[in-house]
Symmetry: C2
Subunit: 208 residues, 2 copies
Amino acid sequence: MSLQLPVQTVSRLCLIYRVLLGMDRETVLSSSKLGKLVNIPAHTIRKDLSVAGKLKSSNAGYKAGELLDFINGLFKFDAPLRVCVAGIGLLGSSFIKNPVQEGGQFIIVAGFDTNINKIEVMKSDVPLYPAYEMADRIRELKIDLGIIAVPAQAAEITMQRMKEGGIKGILNFSPAILGDKDIAVRNVHFAEELRFLTAMIPDLEKGD
Amino acid sequence: MSLQLPVQTVSRLCLIYRVLLGMDRETVLSSSKLGKLVNIPAHTIRKDLSVAGKLKSSNAGYKAGELLDFINGLFKFDAPLRVCVAGIGLLGSSFIKNPVQEGGQFIIVAGFDTNINKIEVMKSDVPLYPAYEMADRIRELKIDLGIIAVPAQAAEITMQRMKEGGIKGILNFSPAILGDKDIAVRNVHFAEELRFLTAMIPDLEKGD
């Protein structure tokens, strides 16, 4: 990314991109129509797009295809990236068996687990390797991104192995909070998502 | 929640709460030490806490236990909530078999699936029911929150069934974007998380 956009703007542009992916390129969208589709106020969308740079728009609104190309131009979302999954429990397996290939961008090319027996027994179209081979395999297979789906106590070493292999970004689903100055790390924590949801419910009766 | 706090503040307080849960109550934390633990600038933390209300603090910092109680007082995170899971594929099963019970707040009390055979065959400590019973079971079991882990095309009807049962909040993992004026909905989309991660990597080589 050449522009230094605010994190929240990037986050909203990602959401808009997702909605546009499923649309006909010729569809014309006003910012208020687009806003309704993504649950974001129209003025925020207009502000994000103006912060992100120039975009041709008529009074009628944005053409879906042009908006898609514009966001693509910022982030190059149509370039395929190679992804690996560390930890092939139920969650990790769900990524390996139902690959997140929306838009063809993310290609799962390897899975890792410390349990050698599991690796040998599990049926998978994606090749599976022992965890200790992680750094070497990441280099060899030119893997860009890693998904961490291991228990909390194994999260840090998994991140270090990925980093040693030269990975650029990590999506962490373990309960540990990971962070690194050299690579992009995104922590997704299920209990916290539920807790956030709870905090947003105004009239939830909690025994009072 | 009685206060109308900014969404980002709520989100950060949730993260701080998670870190505090794992600490000794007597630990004293400066805002910069706390900031390092959660990857948030110290001044943002101080601002969030002042927006959220008064909090006793010494010059040395905050006591972990007092900060935990303070956030609890805002959101009542220690009150147990009853949760159901719709869709027991690999992802849904991961919630049922490894319950998100951090802090004892979330209790998974039911799973639902349209595949009756799967319900009958699957071994689970959590009772499983056919999807068409969802609204009735949610009422009967007094379920507060729902996790949606069904395919995109089944997401909307699942939300409607949950709503009919009186659910207060939904955590949606299906690729569909859900929203409702009456209930709190949080969409978590894996491809989008990866895409966001990609957008945050400054020097990712993407064939240029």
